[in-house]
């Protein structure tokens, strides 16, 4: 019953998807007639089942998720404390900011050669490239969140007996900056996901969703390329949805009713 209700409620969305897929199938099958130039919807589905059956799908997804996890954890562990110290202590900001401003404009993919030199063809190498992509949005949003902590909260805390820097950071600044930190993480996840594909494509790894795109392109199996493209999209979407769901329900419940 629920399923039918969902279809009723999302009728326009569902219809739009069905129409798009139908057009794709017709164009590929009747007009283009070339599996290399444009694989049809049917080709993609059957390729998808092939990799499901072979089990390759799961190893590749898990590998990519591992790379992503290495990157995000490193970016958290280094980026958030840096952003906090820059936002809270003026001198730390003056010391760290110039370095960041020089490193930040370097595209993360430019680090790939060094990633390979430093880490070899390992998961850590791929994780490193993702880390480079993720860390700057995290630093900058943490910093901005800390800069914008309303003075009245800090003063209210002080007159209530919360006067040490550590306590003010922990009880006032971090919760107050949380919406900004979270949106930094979300931006970072988008950037990181892009870096993941590029890192795996350009030889930092020999497995993973991004690697498979390049690999299948060499084999001229464009239907598989398309499967992996769509998979990258779906996995990225799932990560973002999961994160948003968790964060809005748990961390940012108090911001409902305010404009974020």
């Amino acid at each position: 019953m629920n399923f039918i209700k969902t279809i009723e409620e999302n009728g326009i969305e569902a219809l739009s998807l069905v129409v798009a897929v139908t057009i794709w199938q017709i164009v590929a099958d009747r007009v283009v007639h070339n599996k290399f130039l444009l694989p049809s919807f049917y080709d993609v589905i059957s390729s998808f089942f092939t990799i499901v059956k072979s089990g390759l799908l799961f190893t590749d997804i898990l590998t990519s998720l591992l790379h992503f996890l290495i990157g995000i954890i490193a970016a958290f562990v280094i980026g958030i404390p840096l952003g906090i110290s820059m936002g809270w202590f003026k001198k730390a900001n003056r010391a760290i900011d110039p370095i960041i401003e020089i490193l930040r404009p370097i595209p993360p993919l430019a680090w790939i050669p060094f990633a390979i030199v430093w880490f070899g063809l390992t998961h850590q190498a791929a994780g490193f490239v993702i880390f480079v992509g993720m860390i700057f949005p995290i630093i900058i949003n943490t910093y901005t969140g800390f800069k914008n902590v309303p003075k009245v909260y800090v003063e209210a805390a002080k007159v209530l007996g919360c006067t040490r820097n550590m306590d003010l950071i922990r009880f006032i600044a971090i919760p107050s900056a949380m919406p900004s930190i979270v949106s930094g993480i979300r931006i970072a996840m988008g950037v990181g996901w892009m870096c993941l594909v590029a890192a795996e494509m350009f030889g930092v790894s020999d497995r993973g969703l991004g690697y498979q795109i390049w690999h299948n392109y060499y084999l001229h199996r464009m239907d598989f390329v398309l499967v992996y493209m769509l998979l990258l999209g779906f996995v990225g979407l799932l990560i973002d949805r999961f994160f948003r769901y968790y964060v809005d329900a748990k961390l940012l419940r108090w911001t409902s009713g305010t404009v974020v």
Partner: protein, 254 residues
């Protein structure tokens, strides 16, 4: 015990480009008795909020000294609670967790602190809303919660910086009456900044009327009227008239 003594307090705000600076307060002295309700009243920009913030320890004086029970004030301390003009509840904490904040800072665990603050939440009439987040409350309720939060620390002095300034007139009157009830129940000294003559006359034992900038004490008016005070009795009207005239003089002096 909360005896506050303000001695020759001056405060000059300096900016880099202008060396002389702006004098906000100029040798202000007065004493507040234990358990007294004092209002600081004056034209806007007269430094009354600055004075209150110095008493709170959030701002420093350029010269002079303020003591609480004889001990000089050097920084913020839970003995001096404060209620701000802006809504200052921590928006990520529920009402009850805001009220327990001070106790948590003293190292009391959350469960125990919650039990302990129950009575302050009852006192301000927010039993039903204790698990609500600040955004779910009206302005008046938020200020009530802020009062409960300040009281939970059992301060000797409660500093209030136009706490009802942003509220509508009805809510304002109700909260003034409730505040007086709290003051009668708790043995706390109140220093209350306001720009409203009505508020000062209804609430205080004495009104410290300040001059326009730089803020000095113009006159300390004793309000010798029994409580509960009617807002419109001839005595109250007479007093209001007198205070208004003092403030009006300030307008013409500038």
């Amino acid at each position: 015990m909360g005896r506050v003594s303000v001695r020759n307090i001056s405060r000059t705000f300096t900016k880099k480009e202008d060396k002389a600076g702006t004098e906000a307060l100029s040798s202000v002295s007065f004493d507040v008795e234990d358990g007294e309700f004092i209002c600081l009243l004056g034209p806007s920009g007269c430094g009354k909020t600055t004075l209150l913030r110095i008493i709170a320890g959030l701002e420093t004086q350029t010269s002079g000294e303020i003591t609480l029970n004889g001990a000089p004030i050097t920084g913020p301390d839970p003995k001096r609670g404060m209620v701000f003009q802006q809504y200052s509840l921590l928006p990520w904490r529920t009402v009850i967790d805001n009220v327990t904040f001070g106790l948590e800072m003293q190292g009391i665990n959350k469960a125990e602190a919650r039990k302990h603050v129950e009575k302050y939440i009852d006192l301000v009439g927010l039993e039903q809303f204790k698990d609500s987040y600040p955004y779910e409350l009206s302005g008046g309720m938020q200020q009530r919660a802020a009062i409960a939060r300040a009281l939970a620390n059992e301060p000797e002095v409660l500093l209030m910086d136009e706490p009802f300034g942003a509220l509508d007139a009805q809510t304002r009157n109700i909260l003034q009456d409730e505040l007086l009830k709290i003051w009668e129940q708790k043995h706390v000294t109140f220093i209350f900044v306001t720009h409203s003559v009505d508020e000062a006359v209804v609430l205080s034992d004495r009104i410290v009327v300040m001059t326009a900038r730089p803020g000095k004490i113009k006159e300390i008016v004793k309000v010798d009227l029994p409580r509960p005070r009617s807002r419109t009795s001839p005595e109250v009207n007479h007093l209001r008239d007198r205070v208004l005239r003092l403030l009006e003089e300030e307008r013409f002096h500038r």
